[in-house]
């Protein structure tokens, strides 16, 4: 595949433009990074890792949580076979993925700092409030 120039790429991206529909929270599985990204609100954001699996997206404007990234989804599915119970039609509630990570073998014996506990609580609440599900269609479920 021939590489586009930066200018050609910019033109192609801007030609596509944003999707002209009202924003709804969504989660998407990215097979290239084996990660699920969750977007709870439409905002410009910065990222902060809270542990080896989860990165939180915060609004530049409000510093509120507006999304997250969960890495190593296929490993998590392997390590937490009980997750299969809450997967329906290859869809799973994000809050279940966060909890599965917290209860995974890697994490269960680790001390959870107050900050991390608070962030996880907020993340789970945002995921629950929006009712967002991740579609695991492309992951090895």
């Amino acid at each position: 595949m021939n590489a586009m120039t930066r200018e050609q790429f910019a033109e192609m991206v801007l030609e596509q433009g944003p999707i002209p529909e009202p924003f709804k929270p969504f989660a998407t599985y990215n097979r290239d990074g084996d990660c699920i990204e969750f977007f709870a609100a439409q905002d410009m954001f910065y990222a902060e890792r809270i542990d080896d699996l989860v990165t939180v997206y915060y609004s530049f404007e409000t510093n509120e949580i507006v999304g997250s990234l969960i890495k190593g989804v296929e490993d998590l599915l392997e390590e937490c076979p009980a997750l299969q119970i809450v997967i329906s039609d290859r869809k799973v509630r994000l809050s279940h993925l966060f909890m599965a990570h917290l209860f995974s073998r890697d994490q269960i014996d680790q001390k959870i700092s107050d900050v991390r506990r608070l962030v996880y609580r907020k993340l789970i609440r945002v995921a629950e409030d929006t009712g967002t599900e991740a579609d695991l269609e492309l992951a090895t479920v």
Binding site: R6, F9, A10, P18, P20, R31, D32, E37, M44, R49
Partner: protein
């Protein structure tokens, strides 16, 4: 969802490979996600991400155990993080803004040379061209 002639097609763009340039493919999944987030994200995707890939301030490779980008359990060998401090940024509605002082723009590339994530993170207080905790997160700085 609105259709576009480029939907789902991978796009290949240049990235610095130490002394030379190489081609990397931009994740179509991530591009589609950015489309749903609005004009500011599309503009940063169009301009900032390719700019950092072509002219990074630093490139980190691999990950340390219990660290970030990519799946520490799989080693992260060959995964790269390109780091830059663009002189522009954008608001959600697409208004052009200046540089974000105290922040770096990171672009993550997997070992198949697919760009799968790009985003702002806090800069290191002592070295504002590098990300916070870079010493712990990556195995090696290659640029």
């Amino acid at each position: 969802m609105a259709e576009s002639k480029n939907d789902g097609r991978p796009s290949s763009i240049p990235a610095l490979d130490l002394d030379d340039m190489m081609s990397v493919t931009v994740s179509a999944d991530r591009l589609q996600a950015m489309r749903r987030l609005g004009a500011g994200h599309m503009l940063e995707t169009a301009h900032l991400m390719p700019g950092v890939l072509a002219r990074p301030e630093a490139i980190f490779e691999g990950i340390r155990e219990d660290s970030d980008e990519d799946n520490s359990r799989r080693g992260g060998e060959g995964w790269r993080c390109y780091c830059g401090t663009p002189d522009t940024s954008y608001s959600l509605d697409g208004t052009k803004l200046g540089a974000r002082k105290g922040w770096v723009y990171l672009v993550f590339v997997n070992k198949e040379k697919v760009v799968y994530n790009w985003r702002w993170e806090r800069a290191d207080k002592d070295d504002p061209e590098l990300p916070q905790n870079h010493q712990k997160r990556f195995k090696e700085r290659v640029l």
